[in-house]
Every structure is written in C-alpha cells, then in structure tokens.
C-alpha cells in the first residue's frame, strides 16, 4: 500500500494529514499489518485534548492492545464513530476511510518534525530488515 505524499508520519506508526489548522490522524498500513485483525477501537470524545507524543486511544487486535499516540497537541474535533462497529476497516483502508480522529492543531509547526512519506518508508524498511536479521 502506498504512503500518501501529503501525509506526515510518526515513529509510532501514526499518520497525520494537515489541512489548515485541522489535522486528520490514523494508523499506517504497516501498523495495521503488524497488529493483525483489528477487533476493537477506543477513541476520545470531541472536546478532549491531545498532547503530542501522548496516548489518545487504543487499537486492539485479537492478540494485543496497542496505544495510539497523538502526532500533535490540540483538541479533538471528531472521532470516527464508524469504527466502533466496524473496526476491521482499519485493516482494509487504514490511510482513508479508517481515519481515527480529527484534531484542531494548537501549533501546526509541530508537524514539521515528523517524517515525510519517503523517510517513513525508509524507516519501516529498516525495521523489516531488523526483523529478518
């Protein structure tokens, strides 16, 4: 699956797509693949605050719980409520329909420190190499 060029990426495998002061956040294809079949998602309610690098929710596969970390500080505008009843969408369309939350970013410059698509692809390629070493 291609990593969209207009997104930015974290080392914890979240993606963020900023459009003005609003940013959409999800987990990457690499992350969903590592997790396996996603069966449960816990997301914050609108109005909740996010803090860059801090957990804002969880994604659970059959075998494990994973925290999801906020790529930026801000306020939650919307959570993707569809995922409550259809968490498997995260496996099917992690970069699109299965976005997790939209946030109003407090300081858009914060996103500049994140990886672009090319850097992220190099980052996960390095991880794959570690795993097979």
């Amino acid at each position: 699956m291609a990593y969209p060029a207009q997104y930015r990426y974290t080392k914890e495998h979240e993606w963020v797509h900023a459009q003005g002061a609003t940013a959409t956040v999800g987990i990457t294809d690499y992350a969903q693949h590592e997790l396996g079949d996603v069966v449960f998602v816990e997301l914050p309610k609108p109005g909740a605050k996010t803090e860059a690098g801090k957990s804002f929710g969880t994604v659970e596969s059959v075998k494990a719980v994973s925290e999801i970390y906020a790529p930026a500080s801000g306020e939650v505008l919307e959570a993707n409520t569809v995922l409550a009843d259809a968490p498997e969408k995260i496996n099917q369309d992690p970069h699109g329909a299965a976005w997790l939350i939209k946030i109003r970013v407090a300081n858009p410059a914060e996103l500049n420190s994140l990886m672009d698509a090319a850097a992220y692809e190099a980052y996960i390629a390095g991880k794959a190499k570690d795993a097979s070493a």
Binding site: H33, E34, G36, D37, V39, F40, E42, T58, E60, S61, V62, K63, V65, A86, E88, A131, S132
Partner: protein, 380 residues
C-alpha cells in the same frame, strides 16, 4: 521455513515461533480453518521425556505415578491422558500428556517454556526408582494437524488406520515415508485432530510440513501460529502454563480435579492437596463473558460490584467462534456462580462481565450422517 511463508515471528519461551501467517489470512482465518476445516501448527517447541523401566518391570510406572497426578496404571499401551506434575505444595510444575508407549515405556509431552525445569524435575524425582529418563526434546518436531478435516488430510500421508485411533489414543505408522512415526489423536484446540512426532532435522521436518500443506490443500488447510493456538485453546478452556496454572496455583483452584486421582495412592503434591481440600478454596477458575464493550486481557484486575478487588484475569481475548469477548479469571467461590456479575478493570474503566459455563466452545459430537457444519465465526 515459516518466515518464507510470510509468518510473523515471536519469541516464546526462548523459541522463535510463528504467531500468525498474514500472507495466508492471519489469525482469524487460521482460527476458522481449525474450527471448520483443518489447520497445521508447528509445535516443535514442546518437549518430550521418555521414562522406561530399568532391569525389573514396573519401575517406569512407579516413577510416573510418583511425579504425575493422574493414574497411569489405567493407561493401556497406545493410550494417553492429560495430567500434571506437582510440587509438594500441590501447585504446578507443568501440565503434561502421558503416553504409554509400551509395557514399561512412557512418554511425557511437556511445555516449551518449562522444558529445562521439567527435565530436571523428572530426573531428580525419579532417582529412587528403577527407571531411565531420556530427554528427547531435541529429537522430535511435533506437528499438530487439527480440525474436522484433520483425519482426511493425514490419511493421505500415512498407512496407519486413523479411524481406529480414538481420542487420546495413538498409534505408530509410516508418515510421508517415515516409518514408525508416533501419531496421537490429541491436540490443544478443542477440535478433533492429530499430533505427529517426526525427526527434528530441518530437512525432514520441513519436508513433512510441506507435504501436510500440500495434502490439505483440497480441504483449505492453513498454516497456523501461536495466536490461533491461544484463541482456540481458550475457547476450549484448556490451561496454559503461567496463566491458568503455575507454581502458585493448586489443582483444585484450577478446576482440574478430574485429572487428579487422589485414590491411586501417594504422589508428589497429594498430601498438600488433601489439606487444601480440607481448608476449602479461596479462589476458583471461572469463565467470563464481557457484558460491556471491552476486551479483558491477561493480568487485568477483577472487582465485585461493591468495588472490592477480588481476582485477576489469567487469559482473555475476543472469541472468534462466539463473537464475544471471553476470559478466564480467578475469583472467590462466592463470586463464581453462573450468572454472577463481576467488574473487569480495562485501562481504568471497570466493565461488567458475567460468569458463564465453560468450556466456552465444545465441538459437536460426530453425527452419523455428514451434517452440514454451520460455523458461527464472523465472516468479516
């Protein structure tokens, strides 16, 4: 070999094991394959200990009776049973499958994570008996072929009469040309199936693994990892060492009474178990089903509705077959009645769960006519 099949690996008890095979569908698909068709697991991490009599007959049986809580004198040659080795305090060294290979010849199949400890324990505690103890763990690769179509798959690869092998019995036969292979109708999935023991050299075990997959193709066989093994055994309420059983949990608490034969005579742990029974239970293993949305996981704390902490979850997961979130937990007997409501703390939130009867899943008895299998598994 598993990496080449696109397996995701995990370290388990010092072994590099496949957790699931995303390339062929992943954990849920593997779980479904075993419940409705067939799957194959490489469980070569399991250990094997052979105990044989010395000069005089009977030494092996006496030794097995001393270290194992079930009654091995009831085993016919070709028969196996579930049992456990206990510490003098009545808690678990490990659970085992005891196979009676011959008149004075027993094979104990033990867990991966406890192998070294188990072997040392068996050697130490059989010194007084006229028997030999061999650690064959590195000699065999154990493959588990599990599911309602397991017999159909294995039949294509062996000259043994599998239909004649009943549940928890075994036979020897040629498998993929390997003469005198141990073929046991046992497993850890709650489904019908076989476990075969083939020489552990990489070329042989890989060849057999590939032949099984090839033979199973027409039945939709999938290679299965530890992830599916765990969800399958949990649905069937089969204990996992370090979770439902451990060195601080006794037989009565774990609810394994029916495999513990107090009346057979003395054995390690017996005296402590008698005292424990007289003293009464303080906790017991129950099955839970989550009422509120959330998944109970190993180690999560359990509370009563008044807010008092009463126990802990030992294993928890979504059940792919039941489409419910299930768990096993230790709670006081007062909270263990079917229908009792308890609270499981999931990341700070206490969520309602209900005590339900176990096993969560039990396979249907074989019907005389080929009944249509209607899996309840989710299709998403």
């Amino acid at each position: 070999m598993h990496r080449r099949m696109g397996a995701k690996m995990v370290n388990f008890g010092g072994w590099d094991m496949p957790v699931e095979y995303p390339a062929t569908g992943g954990l849920l698909a593997e779980h479904r394959a075993v419940r409705t068709g067939v799957g194959v697991f490489d469980v070569s991490h399991m250990g094997d200990i052979r105990i044989r009599s010395g000069r005089a007959p009977g030494g092996a049986l006496t030794a097995v009776q001393h270290i194992s809580m079930n009654d091995a004198s009831q085993l016919a040659i070709g028969q196996a049973h579930y049992s456990a080795m206990l510490y003098p305090q009545g808690t678990f060294v490990d659970d085992v499958i005891v196979h009676r290979l011959g008149e004075d010849d027993y094979l104990l199949v033990i867990n991966a994570g406890t192998r070294e400890k188990d072997v040392a324990w068996v050697r130490q505690n059989t010194l007084a008996f006229d028997c030999t103890v061999e650690n064959l763990s590195d000699d065999f690769t154990q493959l588990a072929i599990q599911g309602p179509r397991a017999e159909d798959v294995l039949r294509k690869l062996t000259d043994a009469n599998l239909t004649a092998v009943r549940n928890y019995w075994f036979t020897h036969g040629a498998v993929c040309g390997l003469k005198h292979t141990l073929i046991a109708r046992t497993g850890y999935t709650g489904e019908d199936g076989f476990e075969i023991y083939v020489p552990s050299d990489a070329a042989t075990s890989e060849a057999v693994w590939n032949r099984v997959l090839e033979a199973g193709k027409e039945f939709g066989i999938l290679p299965c990892g530890l992830g599916a093994r765990n969800t399958l055994r949990l649905e069937a309420k089969m204990a996992l060492y370090g979770h439902e059983i451990s060195d601080c949990i006794n037989v009565w608490e774990a609810g394994l009474d029916r495999f513990c034969k107090i009346e057979k005579g003395d054995f390690l742990g017996r005296a402590a178990l008698l005292s424990a029974k007289a003293a009464g239970l303080t906790r017991t293993l129950v099955g839970l089903e989550m009422i509120e949305r959330g998944i109970a996981r190993d180690g999560y704390r359990v509370f009563d509705q008044g807010g008092a902490e009463i126990g802990v979850v030992t294993s928890g997961s979504p059940s792919p077959t039941l489409c419910k979130n299930i768990a096993l937990a230790y709670v006081p007997p007062a909270n263990s009645a079917l229908g009792s409501v308890v609270l499981v703390e999931v990341r700070g939130q206490r969520l309602k769960a209900q005590v339900v009867s176990t096993p969560f899943y039990k396979r249907a008895k074989k019907a005389a006519a080929p009944a249509a299998v209607s899996p309840v598994a989710r299709t998403a």
